[in-house]
């Protein structure tokens, strides 16, 4: 009843125990997508049963093009995996460099980190498109074709790299100095201390924000469609074009794309929260 009386007040009791996962579970996104598709199928069947001549219904058009859009979605996934891998490797290196004793290393690392953390992804995407050549000469003598999707992947990896760099730096700084001292006293070298003592403790702290950036990265991949990369959204647009560019196609097509991404990313964000809570309890 309290909720009804003053709906705009914050529910103080719920603040500490609030779990969005209780209301909406990870698989609910997939359920929503399934429901949407089922309703499409029913509506299409209805429309066709009483069909006369004329263009197929918007829903029938969507159903027809779904395999094409899903093929594009595979590219979104591929780009997100590859970009995350690049971002993680480069970001860890950059984060360590930020903490280097030498200003000649730490300053550039700091600069690169903050440059890419604080610029719009779309602008980074354009800059990479313009600056990275179409063909890369390999030192072995061969050439490597930088196709548009590879360039876009590299572009998306840059801001994530910068954020991973900050995650790594923050995690290392949060380890008490006594850990370094006791390792040093036990004759660990600097490298051994990092490898066996400091970084393993960082992993726990870094995983939830790292996963969060993966989700953001995946949501950013449709930006590549602007440059003609044939991922899910680009394919969706191409499909609408091919189907006659009818305005009534827009809503079902974009709704489908929305649910498609939601069904994939929402479980990841729920999973991230679970890990976060688990580690909070552990320590």
């Amino acid at each position: 009843m309290r909720a009804l009386a003053k709906p705009f007040r914050i529910d103080v009791e719920a603040v500490s125990s609030f779990l969005p996962s209780r209301a909406l579970r990870g698989w609910h996104g997939i359920l929503l997508l399934a429901l949407f598709l089922a309703s499409l199928a029913i509506a299409t069947a209805h429309a066709q049963s009483g069909a006369a001549a004329g263009p197929p219904s918007p829903l029938a058009t969507l159903v027809e093009w779904i395999p094409f859009i899903l093929r594009g979605f595979l590219l979104n996934l591929g780009m997100s995996f590859l970009a995350m891998a690049i971002a993680t490797v480069l970001g860890i290196g950059l984060g360590l460099l930020q903490l280097s004793r030498s200003r000649f290393l730490s300053l550039p690392a700091w600069l690169v980190t903050h440059l890419f953390r604080n610029s719009p992804w779309l602008v980074i995407l354009f800059v990479v498109m313009l600056l990275v050549p179409f063909e890369l000469q390999l030192p072995g003598g061969g050439t490597f074709i930088m196709s548009d999707w590879l360039k876009a992947t590299f572009a998306f990896s840059l801001p994530v790299m910068a954020n991973v760099s900050e995650i790594v730096r923050g995690a290392i700084v949060s380890i008490p100095k006594g850990q370094w001292e006791s390792a040093e006293s036990l004759a660990f070298t600097h490298g051994q201390t990092l490898r066996w003592i400091i970084l393993p403790q960082c992993v726990k702290r870094a995983i939830p924000p790292w996963m969060n950036w993966y989700a953001l990265l995946t949501m950013a991949t449709p930006m590549a469609s602007i440059l003609g990369v044939r991922e899910a959204v680009g394919n969706g647009q191409a499909a609408m074009e091919a189907a006659g560019a009818r305005p009534e196609l827009l809503v079902p097509f974009y709704l489908f794309l929305l649910l498609l991404f939601f069904a994939y990313i929402y479980p990841i964000s729920i999973w991230t929260r679970m890990i976060e809570r688990k580690y909070a309890v552990d320590s």
Partner: protein
């Protein structure tokens, strides 16, 4: 030849001079306690012995090896000198047993089986049998500190440094840690302790040094220092404590 020899050591942090010409010798098997008011440079001194802090002037040798030699083999020094800290500094992502095993396995590259046997024996020695697979976060302060002692002993040091190891502990767990150190001393381990536990110093120390503002004011066997202190600063410090 003394095992640890400290001669005319000066050490500053920036403009602040914390050690102003400290000398002391520790013979093999001896137990030495360093007492004195906070900020007198006790902990700094002990940390200089294993090279955690560097010094500006003077000399520190361990078994004849100069600690501040730039060409010093740090690994060799740290194998000889074990240190236990006030804040235990156990590795929280490793179990008690793994904490003890880590340095011999990763640094000395000794065979794991052999090290594990030794580590289990050390954990038993500090009376923590049964806690081998427990993570530090689930151990009491006194238990963590005893794991830290076992961890240092696993490197088979010739001398052990204890830097106010009971200062952060609950009173009821202080005793068990002191008992462990006492047993260690009785076995002939050379020990250098910075401590505020005067009763303990009196009981186990062969020699007690009283430091104040970066110098050693007075030293001698415990019964002498604690009952017939000559210097007025020592008397004042002891009267505040007892």
């Amino acid at each position: 030849m003394p095992l640890v020899s400290i001669k005319e050591v000066h050490k500053s942090f920036g403009k602040l001079e914390v050690l102003r010409g400290v000398s002391l010798d520790v013979k093999k098997g001896e137990v030495v306690c360093i007492i004195g008011p906070s900020g007198s440079g006790k902990s700094t001194l002990i940390r200089c012995i294993n090279g955690l802090n560097d010094i500006q002037k003077g000399s520190i040798t361990v078994e004849g090896q100069e600690v501040n030699d730039p060409k010093l083999d740090k690994l060799a020094l740290r194998k000889k000198v074990g240190i236990v800290f006030q804040q235990y500094n156990l590795f929280p992502h490793k179990t008690a047993l793994e904490n003890v095993m880590m340095a011999p396995v990763k640094v000395l590259k000794e065979p794991k089986r052999e090290v594990e046997e030794r580590a289990r024996a050390l954990i038993a020695k500090v009376r923590l049998s049964g806690k081998e697979d427990v993570y530090p976060g689930h151990l009491s302060g006194g238990q963590q500190q005893r794991v830290a002692i076992a961890r240092s002993l696993a490197m088979r040091p010739d001398v052990m440094l204890f830097d106010e190891v009971t200062a952060a502990l609950d009173p009821e767990t202080v005793k068990e840690v002191l008992l462990t150190i006492k047993e260690l001393a009785a076995e002939g381990m050379t020990c250098i302790l910075v401590t505020h536990e005067m009763g303990f110093a009196r009981e186990v120390a062969d020699h007690v040094y009283f430091t104040d503002r970066g110098v050693i004011v007075e030293h001698g066997p415990p019964e002498e220092l604690f009952t017939q202190a000559k210097d007025e600063r020592t008397q004042r410090f002891l009267s505040q404590i007892f």
